[in-house]
Amino acid sequence: MSIFIEQIINGIIIGSMYALIGSGIALIYGTMRVLNLAHGEFYMLGGYIVFFLVVTYAVPAYLAIPIAILAIFLLGLLVQRLTIAYLLPREEWAFATIAATLGLSIFLQNLALLLFGEQFQSIPYYLSGVVEIAGLRLPQQRLLMLVVAIVTIAIMTFVLAKTRFGWALRATSQDKDAAAVVGIPAARIYTLTFGIAAALGCVAAAMLAPIYAVNPWMGLPVLFKGFVVVILGGLGSFPGAIVGGILLGIVEAVGVQVTSSEWRDVIAFGLMILVIWVRPWGLFGKPQ
């Protein structure tokens, strides 16, 4: 029984990482209606920055991670400005942005391969202890992941609900023209949103990299999981992505417990197909 509970807790923890990735995809889709196929590569580059800072330059993790997040945020702004912002005003933007982000994904993967090589790099755990709560043994590293996810989601929720930027983002995603009429510059909101979404991916990369490994292809499976999350939660919904991510984590963990770990992706994508089948607008979206 306690193994079962541990698995659920692990599911919640991994799910909170899925939530961070999925919420970035959801924010971008929700505001500019763009499916960012390069989202996984911001995650990958975030992982590499943390790896180089922590392992190569021995920067302490509590400094390295914020630096990586800031760097990926700035990179997100730059990439949005150079690609998406340029394509959005065009008539064929819907296809153009998919083609551009797919191209960007392939480009960044190969650039990473060229610059960093094909070896899988590992980052040591930030915390190595184990905590015992009510008979459950939890590695401190995993608890740290959960704490970081909760803090990040709390900050994002506050930003969306209470700040001028958050109001502008929500208004723009609901009605771009009405937002422009009241004086909200959609283009700037789009750029900032893209940077924030990339930074959310970097938070997940920083926390997951010590568990998995850093390599040029690490973004791809994460992108797919992110898609499962936004389909579960309803495309473009931030709270939906959070709940969808955690739900996916739990279902995977329990599913793997009753089958075996090779079934993890089958379970995830099976769940996605099921949702598309019975509730195509997602568990928390509204039918259109």
Partner: protein, 234 residues
Amino acid sequence: MLEVEGLDVFYGDFQVLWGVSLTVGAGEVVAILGPNGSGKSTVLKAIMGLTPAKRGRITFEGNDLRRVPTHGMVDLGISMVLERRRLFGAMSVQENVLLGAYRCRDAAEIRRRREWVESLFPIIGERRNQEAGRLSGGEQQMVAIARSLMSKPRLLLMDEPFLGLAPRIVQQIGEIIRKVHGEGISVVFNEQNVQLSFGLSDRGYLLEGGRVVLSGTGEDMLSSDVVRRVYLGG
């Protein structure tokens, strides 16, 4: 204060406005009239920059509006109520109203403006925390007008303010247009119904097939054969 001259607008290859010219003076209420599909809404959208103009001049107090992005219009003193209200439906009435003052960063000024629109529309205060999307059509129109007034405009464009509203509500919205005018704000609105429009406006422009076919005061226009021809096809 607003001058439009020789405005041509295309949707793709299809030309919807042909050399439209009109003027709006300070403190005027001007109606743009015409049957469905005559290009009334396109005129307002082109002024606001929501639809790009191909040719022509649009100036507001000497500013070339074709060089101003839509989100910069409120800075010049132009605001718009979009067709079908277009509220931020998932946000509260209060959030919608406050977003109208997005460009204003002075909290005291925002409060003054909010008190001003609440005095014009008591419903804003009463329904403050309600989700805007759940209000009735008439209430939504009031919130939409209140939102557009929060930028303290000198010119208010209203796209089909009466569309889809019950007769009683139409009357109420008409009262509100008078109130807005009474605050010294110039108003341009478009509407199909000629009788209704001239109860509210000083002057009007009649559009047919994307061209201005008649302009003048209500009396001039109501007595004109052109109006009858355009509406009845006679």
